[in-house]
Symmetry: C2
Subunit: 702 residues, 2 copies
């Protein structure tokens, strides 16, 4: 990834060349030139085509080089020729010194191996020549404020289409869906500043485009639709700028499909990793296009100081729906102070409610002064972080007063005010526009308003200053680049359980005492050394499910050691004898690869692993306090606290061991799996023991 400012011409070009321009009305090679003129783009427009002549009223050139020679400025090229002719067009751009090009053409990686090879060669040449590429197989970009529609989306042909400029960036991997969403944003009045469709992402990725937009002056938030996501350090760098980011990550249903080499792998399947990673970097994940735009609408609101919500409503029903949503989305209904309640009692009639949700009734709503006072009283309560006002049928005569009251309280209180208006727009057609102008997002239902508010609270929580105490190593230290001499080595590819335990023990991870036994007599001696009660385990290369094969015998005493040895050795390998650890709570601690990096999995282990199937995930690196949070995210936290009279387990030691494990594996080559299950947490003060360990080396690169 290069200098982010190199991408600026994608929305702020001084001169745009359209390579493959044609004068034929409605043809793809003409549309951008029409659009750039229709939407008033004021920079240079340079049609490029072999046979010259005028295109869309503009003088054309046989090449970008020729245009440059004629003194035309070009810092962005749209390449709209067939795939076979793309390499030549890129060559022309390189020669002309164009810094960035949009390859709209399809016929590349999306069509199979041959297209992928062509794409790879084009990118290799571009890197050599110092030009950045967007696409191929994309619909282009828009700089909304300047009318730079360097796109051929049919959206811009629409008779009634108007660009709605604003402070939000929009990045989409999908072209059709992306511009569909843009049309919905404009239709609801959500102003966008920068629109980028990344297509095949041969060079410029979604994350890079998002980061470049976030650098633009006036950018207040980024919305993104992505299908593949790998650049977690890039996303972390983006959210660290303080610009709020919401991501619609598609492809959830592939999650379960991945065949996994270990239990850890199965529990850490793809989509849950994306959830965890986005939460870790402070980006908000949304589930649908409407929710993405709903979140876009709150990005410009003031950040609430907490998650305590006051609901003001003219309809008991809306109040209940809002309260339901408040609970569902991890917010709380504000407990109004006695003073607030007393003041509201003076205003709200008996058939309303002065408790939160505050049901002011239609009679207060229709009295501007009373509604004003209601809002003032609520906004002044220190226990209120945000206000959601719910209306239903809002008719013309009510709207002016209501909006004026909301606007006043929103601007004076510094607290976010959101509106749910569950009624047809035509009943008060100006309401939405007026509220938008007043910086008050409005939604058709209480649930949608509250969900958007929850995102706003998440942005407040993720704001960089609030994060200062959480150690996020710089991206370059995330993986093992520049490993120090003292770094623990990764296990051998075929490391046995015994070897793994030795390696872990050397790093300070507690494992049961144990050794190999050579024969029945030696096993008896080893059992004695272990304190008289031991576990015998088969160590057989390739035998993964030892228990199922009868390769684990527990509760072995000196008396039974001989017979147990004979049974285990019959499986064809060696016999490991180790101290039997009794009692405790069984946890699972695992590491597995993902496209976003190594994933730490912590949860309920032992015999309950599959049945309870309850784990928490994080992408490495993970700080110590996050490990504690992981325990409480799964049912493991409850088990450790002690159930039905059981004593509390040594939670602190478990957190220590998991944190230490994160350090130990940090510099192992990526792609490995490490499955420690069970890790038994003994009663408080007695520490933990890793009772079983399995390792799967990284797959060889083909």
């Amino acid at each position: 990834m290069g200098d982010l400012s190199a991408l600026r011409p994608l929305w702020s070009a001084r001169g745009v060349a359209v390579i493959g321009a044609t004068d034929r009305e409605g043809a793809l090679g003409r549309l951008p030139l029409d659009f750039l003129q229709r939407y008033g783009y004021a920079a240079e427009l340079v049609p490029v085509r072999p046979d010259g002549g005028r295109v869309a009223g503009l003088e054309s050139y046989p090449s970008v080089v020729a245009a440059r020679a004629a003194g035309r400025e070009v810092d962005l090229a749209m390449i709209m020729v067939s795939a076979a002719r793309v390499p030549g067009a890129v060559e022309d751009c390189i020669e002309a010194g164009v810094p960035v090009a949009i390859i709209c053409s399809s016929g590349f990686a999306e069509t199979g191996a041959e297209g992928a090879a062509l794409q790879a060669s084009v990118v290799a040449r571009a890197r050599e020549g110092g030009i950045r590429l967007l696409g191929p197989n994309c619909i282009g970009t828009v700089g909304v404020a300047t009318g730079q529609v360097t796109s051929f989306s049919p959206l811009f042909s629409g008779e009634h289409t108007e660009l709605v400029p604003g402070p939000i960036g929009f990045v989409s991997q999908s072209g059709a869906l992306g511009y569909g969403a843009v049309s919905l944003a404009f239709a609801r009045g959500l102003g966008l500043g920068w629109v980028v469709n990344t297509g095949n992402e041969s060079d410029i990725t979604s994350v890079e485009a998002m980061r470049a937009i976030a650098e633009e002056e006036g950018c207040r938030g980024i919305l993104a639709y992505v299908e593949s996501l790998t650049d977690l350090p890039g996303l972390r760098a983006l959210t660290a700028t303080g610009v709020p980011v919401a991501v619609l990550k598609a492809g959830r249903s592939d999650a379960g499909a991945r065949a996994a080499a270990s239990h850890t792998g199965a529990l850490a399947a793809g989509d849950r990793v994306v959830d965890a990673a986005l939460r870790q970097v402070g980006a908000v994940r949304v589930d649908d296009v409407e929710e993405l735009l709903d979140v876009g609408d709150v990005m410009t609101c003031p950040r609430p100081g907490g998650r305590r919500v006051a609901v003001v409503t003219t309809s008991g029903g809306s109040g209940i729906l809002a309260a339901d949503a408040v609970e569902e989305h991890g917010l709380t209904l504000a407990a109004l102070s006695d003073a607030t309640t007393a003041a509201l009692d003076e205003i709200v009639p008996a058939f309303g409610s002065s408790a939160n949700p505050v049901d002011v009734t239609a009679s207060v709503m229709s009295n501007g002064a009373l509604f004003d006072r209601t809002l003032d009283v609520i906004a002044a309560d220190d226990g209120v972080d945000a206000i959601v006002a719910c209306f239903c049928v809002l008719t013309g005569q009510d709207v002016d007063d209501v909006v004026a009251s909301l606007e006043r309280v929103a601007s004076h209180s510094g607290k976010p005010v959101l509106v749910a208006r569950t009624g047809a727009d035509h009943l008060a057609p100006e309401a939405s526009r007026r509220m938008r102008e007043a910086g008050i997002p409005s939604y058709p239902t209480p649930a949608r308003a509250v969900r958007a508010l929850a995102a706003l609270c998440d942005f407040a929580d993720a704001a960089p200053d609030a994060e200062a105490d959480v150690a996020h190593p710089a991206p370059s230290t995330v993986r093992g680049a520049g490993t120090a001499a003292s770094t623990p080595p990764a296990p051998a590819a075929d490391a046995s359980e015994a070897e793994l335990k030795e390696l872990l023990a050397a790093q300070g991870i507690p494992v049961p005492a144990g050794r190999f036994a050579t024969d029945a007599d030696d096993a008896r001696a080893a059992v004695h050394e272990c304190g008289g009660r031991a576990v015998l385990k088969a160590v057989v290369p390739g035998l993964v499910h030892k228990s199922d094969a009868g390769g684990v015998v527990v509760g072995v005493t000196a008396e039974t050691a001989g017979a147990a040895f004979d049974r285990v050795v019959a499986l064809g390998g060696r016999v490991w004898v180790e101290e039997q650890v009794e009692g405790g709570v069984e946890a699972l601690v695992g590491f597995a690869p993902s496209p976003l990096g190594t994933v730490l999995t912590v949860g309920v282990g032992g015999v309950l692993t599959e049945v309870v199937a309850d784990v928490a995930l994080r992408v490495l690196p993970v700080a110590r306090d996050e490990v504690g949070a992981m325990l409480d995210e799964s049912r493991l936290g409850g088990l450790l606290a002690g159930v039905r009279g059981a004593p509390p387990s040594d939670r602190r030691a478990l957190v220590d061991v998991v944190t230490r494990l994160c350090d130990v594996v940090a510099d192992w080559p990526p792609g490995f799996e490490l499955d420690l299950n069970p890790v038994t947490a003994l009663p408080q003060g007695h520490g933990v023991r890793v009772l079983d360990a399995a390792y799967v080396p990284p797959e060889e690169s083909p």
Copy 2:
């Protein structure tokens, strides 16, 4: 509940009296008369007010009795006077023989005890006088087809408001929210036939209104917003008619608030019971107003034969989002046949996809014949039950062909066709209307389309003929009315564990062998009778958490019996000695009261009860096959199957015992709690044992 046809005047009145009519413009007492005239209601309109004169151009009468005496027909009265004058108005209606009245006035149960008393007295008098009451504290009703706007909602003042008649009924407990939702339905073109706001539900309930609407000719579905729901037999009778029902039940967040007397109670908290009950009767529960209307839009579609969905799209992104939603909502992506795939390969270009989701690309979409053929091929595949077509920016020129193709395949195939159109309406303003006319519901995003389709599949599953093999006793047998002589008696209010077990054993429920021990020697003898290994338990009135108090000693042998007896008897009660049951899987089986009836809870029990906290719920009665389904809904099913080498448990015996328990408790007086935990399921063939039992009698009525 009386004869449902008595409610017909609520939407099909021959004559409407408005009691409390006034000529003042905009006053509540005038609005219904204005609305009834504005929307062309063709029956008799009778303003009633003490001082006579004309109201809204109509002749008024001092009472309904006077109007009847003058030959005016009145079969519905709207009562719009102050609360204090309502009893007189009701008296007038009774005397005039009006069968049903809408009490719009507020000042009743919603304001406190005094209002509640007034409400109760009005209802008592109405029952005596044979008149049915809607409300009080409601906004009225609408018969949409005839323009009977017997409502004062400001919706009907809207300059642009038009009634949109259709085959769907809408019932709302909330007035403002209900009419807000109605305005949104009309605005999207979702036609309604019957609208009822039930308010305080002093007499006519939501469920009764829904049932009455379902009896109307042409009714194709019912949408409801409800805040309290108690009449499960009524809902069951409604869904048994085959009319699809969707319910937005508000008040989820109260769920956790209820203090519960037992673990079973806590696990079966309010909102989960509502979920279970609605599923049991085949009603679809929705979470938000928009989703309610989205489901209303599919009610008139043909019912799919299964849950296998083909997605056809012009945007890869939309296809992925649709596939995600298909998985999320319990549908499956149809596996297209080889013949279908081969046929699609001929049509779809290389950069599209002939696998499901089928990405036809814009080039096919813009060629009417090719798109036609694509839809035909997919619809003809026997493995496809429903089609979701996803578009983004749909512009004027595409729409005619696309809609014509969709319409043709929808009408010929008999399979439901739904559309997601993720693009601004203004790009092709006629598209939504044309699709609606063609019976093709369209939604702004793939997720919303798929969610609505899932509801349609649920309606198909719940259709009465598909249910024929599930025994649903008639509502009158749900509770213990008419108990037979052989019915097992409920336990005594203070029944001890030992007494409960005896009672259960007498009904064929297996419990461990045991008896009381009188002293240490007797305890030794009892342990011997139990096979040499026993559990000693304190039986102390009022001691619920025996284990925590040290009142349970396990693994007692003849040697330790004396000491154990002394410890347990020291707690101040008697000592129960019973056979110690070793091993097995611990289940929880519980019964607890709810507003919808007695709730059966089955799930993971024993020490894991609170930590795993995973149970399935049903409202009684529950058939045997449903008990099996409950095991698999919770993690108990997995535990019973055997984990990590454990043998499978006696699942069949557990199902038998739970089914038998449902019979045993069926005629106990409602309101009791019975907590059996653990119920241990032994290895296959060895049955189950109820190891602990606790009973909480019904609360005395105050």
